[in-house]
Amino acid sequence: MLSYLAKRLTLSLIVVALVLMLLFSMLHMIPGNPAILALGTRATPEAIAEYSARMRLDEPVAIQFLIFVGNAFQGDLGTDVFSGRPVTQVIGERVGFSMALIFSGMGWAILLGIPLGCLAAVRPNSWIDRITGVFSVGTIAIPSFLVSIWAILIFAIQLGWLPAIGAGEPGDIGDQLSHLILPAFAIGLGWVGYLARMVRASMLEVLSEPYIRSARAFGLSPRKVTGYALQVAILPTITVIGMGFGGLISAAVFAEIIFARPGVGKMIFDAVSDRNFPILQGGVLLATGFYILVVLLSDLLIAWFDPRVRQSL
């Protein structure tokens, strides 16, 4: 396990380094003075001189890169071009909205999708299996941003049940939750069907294994047998959930823009149109870093459960 851990961590670190390199070259690839790009066109000559000195823009690019990485690791991601506040502070105010959205979206999908898939696999060709099948195909086929738009149309405009935009009054938990329901529904819907399908397929495979037949022959209760099978069948699902977080982050960006939710995704989107590069860099770094971390965790979890995986890397 330890050598697997070391190898897997090294791989993640290399990927993080590549991401940092790409982000750094972003500011240097476009023609023009990086200081003006980072400070905005309204920057005074003094501010530009100060920034150039602080970022050592006169040094070779390699050294500048190391400084950039060093600053990033110390939590210094530069300052917001417009408000002049540290990027980390701006992100800190918004990250909660995004995390709440992502985890509640994934959460309800897991809580509904895995039991649905299990039920469908235990009773193949029953009505619940058919409904799950149709529901899966139907929901997977609708892109999440379309679900967001249609959810606003149906539940906020036509029915008027839930608020359409914003994240709710600060401090009012009930209001914030009611603003969370629609976006979380929108980003999770496709996942319910996807997870149900995955779990069903891998459950059916495991249920036909000899050791399950033996367990049945020994007279174990169906509930217990299902439990045994699920422990094994869940493994590919963990990988899929981990890899799927990338798609979930993309879906959350769309949901935040469509529902005007002040999260990190909305922040990155606004930074693009404002050409606010430090904010953009910080947001992209956070989003990719988070994704790399989730994939790493899901890989480690799999390796923990399945010794065969540890040997393959």
């Binding site: 990927v15 590549l18 397929a201 693009v272």
Partner: protein, 289 residues
């Protein structure tokens, strides 16, 4: 010899029959043909010019004159959807074939080449995949400005790794088979082995994967255009129709409804088709999915 050829022919006919009797596959095929035909023949089918404004008839609901209503400039939504399909088809055709070719080449190199090259390529694929698509697109557009070319580049870059991985796994499995060893013993060059022996064997699963990737690509285009990062107005695309509809969602809800339906039908079509092909030609691939 004749018997063998007869068996092969029968097997092919058998597979074709299985496809023709598979309702999912046939539904998929019909939807895919509908998608391609409506996009190709859009200028002849569309009742109106997609960009012709008709201010007096602006935001009129669906009816006999306008099947899917009109937008805030009085443009016919149905005609715009048909023309938007052309953008989707173009991106899908160019994007999927380009990433298929590049992914195939890189995957074969990774699978057949030296170990260090394999590891390097795998790492690059991993790095590309650690950017959530939309984040990568936003970062790129910030540098280059919105355009269809950027969308195409994003689509190609983000989908290469999935083709490359499949091609690599298949190549690795082939690499040490007897007939490849025999070819090598006969003195065949690496290039010849890759082109004549590895590629035909790798191609099958890749083509099925390509069918499944089409909806992904179409959705990326629509999503980016929805955010204003792709196609520029007044050019019609499913994404820009949805965006324009989203802005007037309270007064003209038919735009977001009509604009979304072709996206769903296209996704269903290619997914059904891909899954049916996979079940018939490559049953192993579907396991664990």
């Amino acid at each position: 010899m004749d018997v063998r050829r007869e068996t092969a022919r029968r097997e092919r006919r058998d597979k074709l029959m299985r496809f023709l009797t598979n309702w999912q596959g046939m539904t998929g095929l019909v939807l895919v043909i509908l998608f391609i035909a409506s996009a190709v023949f859009a200028p002849w089918i569309a009742p109106y010019d997609p960009n012709a404004m008709n201010i007096p008839a602006r935001m009129s609901p669906p009816g006999w004159d306008h099947f899917a209503g009109t937008d805030q400039l009085g443009r016919d939504t149905f005609s715009r959807i048909l023309h938007g399909g052309r953008i989707a088809l173009m991106i899908a055709a160019i994007g999927v074939s380009a990433s298929l070719v590049i992914g195939l080449a890189l995957g074969m190199v990774a699978g057949y080449g030296p170990r260090w090259l394999d590891n390097l390529l795998l790492m690059i694929f991993d790095a590309v995949r650690s950017f959530p698509t939309i984040i990568l697109a936003l970062a790129t557009v910030a540098l280059t400005g919105p355009s269809l070319g950027v969308v195409l580049a994003i689509v190609i870059i983000t989908t290469i790794p999935s083709y490359a991985r499949v091609a690599r796994t298949a190549t690795l499995a082939l690499r040490n088979t007897e007939f490849i060893l025999a070819e090598r013993a006969l003195g065949a060059s690496t290039l010849r082995i890759m082109w004549h022996h590895v590629m035909p064997n790798v191609m099958g699963p890749l083509l099925i994967l390509a069918a499944m990737e089409v909806p992904v690509v179409v959705t990326i285009e629509a999503g980016l255009s929805f955010l204003g990062l792709g196609v520029r107005p007044p050019q019609a695309s499913w994404g820009t129709i949805l965006n324009e509809g989203y802005l007037v969602i309270r007064d003209a809800p038919w735009m977001v409804v009509a604009g979304g339906i072709p996206l769903i039908l296209t996704t269903l079509g290619f997914t059904f088709l891909g899954e049916a092909l996979r079940d018939i030609f490559d049953p192993r691939m579907g396991r664990g999915r």
